[in-house]
């Protein structure tokens, strides 16, 4: 639901955790952004239209940040890092790699206003993709902003903390339902209501 107006920013959130995807999606929707979420770096690259060469096994969000910043098409896109840890050294490393902002978890609605100046900047340049990415373990989450369409703005958000491919985690967290949920690329359509609340422990 929601009309995609010319000035609406489209955000790509990349995170292997369904919980984090759900959280950032809602935060962004509340901030009037159109949101797409993917559960891996490779899907993010696919979404951006970057070639297979960019993909590497065990790619972390930090790796994805670097790749996006190295690409001619997307390097000017603003990147935001997300982490639950306030480690200045790691934050600096991401900022040096080209990330524009840092979100400390837990992310609050007010934090999203930090995106506004970057949105305005990219709006002027007619590039409006922001990416929110979560890089590797013990690191911060990086947010990238690549370009998708002329009249849409996209922001990419990346998490720093775990590997985006996260194969080991996936194996141990195997559940068909979860996998199929993770494969889904969600949009900002309103969710179905849950009328019978069954508490499953």
């Amino acid at each position: 639901m929601g009309m995609v107006t010319e000035s609406q920013f489209h955000v790509l959130a990349v995170d292997d955790s369904l919980f984090d995807r759900k959280m950032i999606e809602r935060l962004l929707q509340k901030s009037s952004c159109q949101v797409t979420t993917v559960d891996s770096g490779s899907k993010a690259l696919e979404f951006l239209g970057l070639s297979e060469n960019y993909c590497m096994p065990g790619m972390t969000g930090y790796d994805l940040l670097k790749k996006v910043k190295e690409s001619a098409a997307f390097k000017s896109i603003p990147v935001v890092i997300m982490s639950s840890e306030n480690v200045p050294a790691r934050i600096s490393r991401c900022l040096e790699e080209g990330a524009e902002e840092f979100f400390l978890k837990p992310v609050k609605l007010a934090d999203l206003t930090k995106l506004k100046p970057h949105m305005m900047k990219t709006k002027l340049k007619n590039q409006k993709l922001e990416e929110i990415v979560k890089p590797d373990g013990n690191e911060e989450n990086a947010v990238l902003i690549p370009e998708i369409k002329e009249d849409s703005s996209v922001i990419e958000i990346l998490p720093l903390h775990q590997e985006l491919e996260s194969e080991q985690l996936e194996q141990t967290l195997s559940s068909n339902k979860r996998k199929s949920m993770e494969e889904a690329i969600s949009t900002d359509r309103s969710r179905p209501k849950y009328n019978d609340i069954t508490t499953s422990v």
Partner: protein
């Protein structure tokens, strides 16, 4: 009569939540979560907390499996799981769970196996307490919705 039912249920819910805040089980981040719920996403709090429990159940199961393994040595993996737990717990305002996860993580950073086992027990305890409380609140909320739905418009 129906009106009283709704009010009583709401009072029960409020009392439980207030108690959780006073105990430090929940913090102001939980209020942030409630702010994210609206007409376009009317069950957001319920949905996201259930996703949190679903993911956290698995993370905790994995942590236990890892630590129970006699040949265990992968403290880095423990750290990764805990990073996720710390982040998600803080994101729903589960302060006590978050704090005990941080303590557990410190033990893992020192490769302290007994410390990790103790840390895991504490986390499991806090986590299950939170879970039981939230399930009780959700059940009351469900009853409240039903009772409110039975009201006829004047």
């Amino acid at each position: 009569m129906l009106g009283l039912g709704v009010d009583r249920l709401q009072a029960d819910i409020n009392r439980l939540l207030t108690s959780l805040f006073h105990q430090g089980v929940l913090d102001e981040q939980f209020l942030q979560l409630q702010q994210l719920q609206d007409d376009t996403s009317p069950t957001f709090v319920y949905d996201v907390i259930n996703i949190y429990f679903d993911e956290s159940d698995k993370l905790l199961r994995n942590l236990r499996l890892l630590l129970m393994d006699r040949e265990f040595s992968d403290y880095k993996k423990i750290g990764l799981h805990l990073n996720q737990l710390v982040g998600s717990s803080s994101s729903i305002g589960a302060r006590r769970v978050r704090n005990v996860c941080v303590a557990f993580r410190s033990a893992s950073e020192l490769s302290n196996r007994p410390g990790c086992l103790r840390g895991l027990e504490v986390v499991e305890h806090e986590y299950h307490y939170l879970k039981n409380m939230m399930h009780e609140i959700f059940q009351l909320e469900q009853q409240r919705l039903l009772a409110a739905g039975a009201r006829y418009p004047m």
